[in-house]
Amino acid sequence: MKEKIYLTVVGKNELGIIATLTNSLHTFQLSVNDITQKILDDKFVLFMELESKQSMEIQHLKEHLEHNTKNFKLQIMLAHENLFNAMHRI
């Protein structure tokens, strides 16, 4: 079953962050439905809507992303779409 996952990344802006992130996403066979990325006050801020073809353990993805980006100073947040549905859609 298809699932959407929302990725938020905040941290110090450096070269290669998106390349590193998308490398992990490719490993997990995730497609990027949407991406918004900005530099705000020298901070790197990114939102992505990801889609997986089948149900997956988000923790595994998070660990992979954190491992791959350990040379950057980033905070990575992932959450299943149902969380946002619960809070913002009736």
Binding site: F47, E49, A79, E81, H88
Partner: protein, 454 residues
Amino acid sequence: MTFQLNEILETISFPYLNHFDIRTVTMGLSLRDCHRSGDQQTADAVYDKLCFEAKDLVKEVDQISQKFNIPIANKRMAITPVSVLCDGKGAQAPLLIAHAIDKAAKELGLDFIGGYSALIDKGITKGERNLIEALPQVLTETDRLCSSFNVATTRTGLNMDAIILLSKKILETAELTKERDAIGCAKLVVFANAVEDNPFMAGAFHGMSMGDKSVSVGISGPGVVRQVLAEAPKDLPLQDIYTLIKKTSFKMTRVGELFLTEAAKRLQCDQGIIDISLAPTPTPGDSVGEVLELIGVDQIGTHGTTAALALLNDAIKKGGTMATSKVGGLSGAFIPLSEDAAMIESAKSGTLTLDKLEAMTCVCSVGLDMVAVPGDIPLATLVGIIADECALGMVNNKTTGVRIIPVPGKTTGDTAIFGGLLGEAPIISIHDKQASGLLNRGGYIPTPVQGFRN
């Protein structure tokens, strides 16, 4: 993108900036089929059932937390009142069962199991008496077992004999655990109108009207409400403040419902209830006291605090009841003195007194919670404090509870240190005059007229 960026940011800010968490996922389990012929056999049956039924609880709950990126602070269980298993057993049964439960909690990685309990608002059976007799030893020798007793209801009246008996046991427990500032007493609540589906400790138990197995969720989040109010204009009318709290409670409860649905599916048990309680922690910013101060009092405990708390409590309930049909438990605002930085500060400065706390419990969800008093408190005074609080619950048809900690060797102005979520409590002042007559007379207060609703 399916969601606006501000919606994503708001969701993320709940746990990351404002301490929002699911305070507890609590599995309720019936132990009524654990009666065996002997005391030890019964304790063994309890241990086996707990270990079998809850073997996946911690693992599954952790996975839910990771899936939705919201912390779950505690994994707990609520069980059938242990008194039910003690009738027809020997005097040793309560202690043996208590140790079996504590051992299971540790092996399962649970934070607490609640249910060393009895409903004694009308009378006390032999098994229940054995359970109470063992209480100080149980609270001293176990770490993760919580205890509660219901001593009054609107339907049956108030059992003063039970209050006197429990007060003696509270003092004994305090003495036995004096090396740790009487922490044993922090695991005991005396209730009026106890609810059967409360997932919060120390008062959780799996009521006699419940099914075999269910899971309930307790939400917290004073930090989120505090942040919303901090951003609101200072001259915003109270009805608009009310609406802001209501909307926030709605969103938090929706998250709770999501967790409840997911947990029940994964653990293959009934969906219990969602308890929408603002439960503070000692972490700065995660304080109900600060919320009340933002609503409109200079310091929690001063005049106006009860009105502000009434507003807060009702707005939380209304937002929650719109968000889910499964609201239950205690639901409202908790005011545990030792766990709330603003309340600790106010009690230290003398603004927040025991009398004001008692008044506040008329409009909040529970009662005198985590209140530390001088260790030399007379028995008659302790009886009076508990009886007052239970009378409030009985007459006003609401749940009230007392979690009181007489701290041996300490007196008004000192501080009791409990650590962790239990925080630290300034020893609060009590009146010199005692309730000697209530103690000497004993007996019971009959059903109030509010109880005759047939």
